[in-house]
């Protein structure tokens, strides 16, 4: 089959590789009909996530048709059309039973290594480095889906691939980011980053009862989408002296009730802090650039919540923890518990309350993957979200 393989920094290629086969009794093999590039794939593309190996198949946002199942997988039949959640969860362990699916105990074959780096290991994830399991991803013609009886959700008739594909990651990720804000009536939510996850976080914050959402970015078409698709107020951070001050001004001096960092470890900023992070990250003294995180801590109102869907991978510097302590902030973060949100969000799509396909800007063939990665990374051609067809 054809698959998008990683070979190093800014080096992805479409290669012919063997087809996947059933390995474990709960597996399913999916023939992929649509697959997307995620903003977090760019962290791999840029070489910031450790433990990638040459030839690894990328991709964790995919859907398709079931073509084979393991002998214990009675939940799926050949021909079922399904969306696959990006974390792999067993459905049996302490964490799965408590609805904390991305923290599953039993799906990371390399848990021993992750344990050393992070103190414990969460779920395995498709196409996202060997620390997170080393599973072959879904930017390919076929994928093996472990615990295919637990994760994949069947797509009802009448819904297109583009409407449901983002249930695999970014819609639930944006939704959980808003859910983590414990939104109360009257709340103002600030969202840093108007990429796809930011867009869904904005939408979800309103769905969950926010009074107002303020979106922060510097890319004009992304800010425009936040205004039009999300109905957010916007701040172009390159056009204000201080995002923190601007947010205070717009919230009567209080600060936003909750702040969402939908940017993560490759934040861009302005000023001296940004230069500091860029320099340290370049020589790998610091793995992550926590520019947004610092800003959010300073901006958030006392007793407020910081919700972090943006990915962090390692060590960060100069976090104003004293400010976070003094203001009594709550931090909520982590990989998305996609399984928790799949069915309720599918219902919202069915009812027509959200049409996720609105954020797609580029539709390409799988063969175009190298070009698609570059376009997405450079934000060329107003690129916000790429969907590929194998």
């Amino acid at each position: 089959m054809k698959a998008v393989c990683w070979y190093g920094k800014e080096d992805v290629r479409v290669e012919t590789v063997p087809d996947p086969e059933i390995v474990n009794p709960h597996d399913a093999i999916i023939q992929i009909t649509s697959t997307a590039i995620c903003g977090s794939d760019l962290h791999l593309y840029d070489g910031y996530i450790p433990s990638m190996k040459k030839g690894d198949i990328l991709g964790h946002e995919f859907m398709g048709e079931v073509v084979d199942t393991g002998k214990e997988n009675t939940a799926l039949q050949k021909g079922d059309r399904v969306v696959v959640p990006f974390p792999i969860a067993c459905g049996q362990c302490f964490y799965c039973r408590r609805d904390l699916w991305s923290l599953c105990d039993n799906t990371n074959p390399n848990a021993w290594a992750t344990d050393k780096v992070y103190g414990d290991a969460g779920a395995g994830i498709f196409g996202y480095s060997h620390l997170l399991g080393g599973y072959a991803g879904g930017q390919a013609e076929y994928a093996r889906v472990p615990f295919g009886d637990v994760g994949p959700v069947k797509v009802p008739e009448g819904l297109s691939d583009e409407q449901v594909l983002f249930l695999s990651d970014i819609f639930p990720t944006g939704y959980m980011a808003a859910d983590n804000c414990s939104i109360q009536p009257g709340d103002t939510i600030a969202v840093w980053g108007c990429g796809p996850v930011g867009q869904f976080a904005i939408k979800s914050a309103y769905l969950l009862g926010a009074e107002r959402v303020i979106a922060i970015d510097r890319v004009p078409e992304r800010l425009q989408m936040a205004e039009q698709f999300g109905k957010a107020d916007i701040i172009n951070y390159e056009e204000v002296d201080s995002v923190t001050e601007e947010l205070k001004t717009r919230t009567g001096g209080r600060g936003p009730d909750a702040c969402i960092d939908a940017v993560g470890l490759e934040a861009h900023g302005t000023g001296i802090g940004n230069l500091y992070d860029q320099a340290k990250q370049t020589v790998r003294l610091e793995t992550d650039r926590p520019y947004v995180l610092r800003e959010a801590i300073m901006a958030c109102r006392k007793g407020g919540t910081l919700s972090i869907p943006g990915v962090y991978g390692g060590v960060i510097d100069k976090i104003p923890f004293g400010a976070a302590f003094a203001k009594g902030l709550t931090f909520k973060m982590g990989q998305t518990h996609v399984h928790r949100y799949l069915r309720p969000l599918l219902e919202l799509i069915e009812k027509g309350e959200v049409d996720p396909s609105n954020i797609i800007t580029h539709r390409l063939s799988l063969e175009d993957a190298p070009h698609a990665y570059k376009t997405f990374k450079e934000k060329e051609d107003d690129c916000i979200k790429v969907v590929m067809k194998p």
Binding site: C5, V23, I57, G91, C93, P109, A111, K116, G124, P146
Partner: protein, 166 residues
């Protein structure tokens, strides 16, 4: 209570715990059959029962290294604890214990494995010490995770044999 073992200066000890969502009885039964031990301690290649308490163990290390010894269960508390020790005169004196304790809040069973071995001195000793790899602790932790996976889900997470563009 741990099994009493003579600790010599070169002694190596591994002490690892894991919580498994299953009753102590089931887990105890698995461990009470020493022939299952190679599943968790992977450089023990095979264990064959001689009688109810004695068994014959074979371990393999790097570069074809192989050692064999007889081991004996010296303490057996049903659903609570099993201690074993190699019989006197073994090339690689070793001992182990496994403990089962109900986790608080009905969260399954805490399984704790302690495994010790006393490599002989000198160059031979240094080689024998490698029998269980550079990081015996990691090896047993990984074995325990796989044990938990098979008990809780009926399969072991793996990526062996999957496609890659390598």
């Amino acid at each position: 209570m741990e099994a009493k073992t003579q600790i010599t200066p070169g002694s190596i000890k591994v002490d690892k715990s894991i919580t498994i969502d299953m009753a102590p009885e089931v887990l105890y039964r698995f461990w009470r059959n020493p022939e299952n031990i190679p599943f968790v301690i992977r450089n023990i290649k095979s264990v064959k029962k001689i009688d109810d308490t004695r068994s014959h163990w074979t371990a393999r290390g790097p570069v074809g290294m192989k050692m064999e010894w007889d081991s004996k269960i010296i303490n057996d508390t049903e659903n609570g604890q099993i201690d074993w020790r190699s019989v006197e005169g073994s090339e690689l004196p070793n001992s182990g214990s496994v403990f089962f304790r109900k986790a608080p809040g009905d969260r399954g069973t805490e399984v704790r494995v302690i495994f010790r071995y006393d490599p002989p001195g000198g160059t031979v000793g240094a080689t024998v010490a490698k029998l269980f790899g550079d990081e015996p602790s990691q090896q047993i932790a990984d074995g325990l995770r796989k044990f938990k996976q098979i008990m809780e889900t009926g399969e072991i997470a793996t990526i062996i044999g999957q496609p890659s563009g390598k």
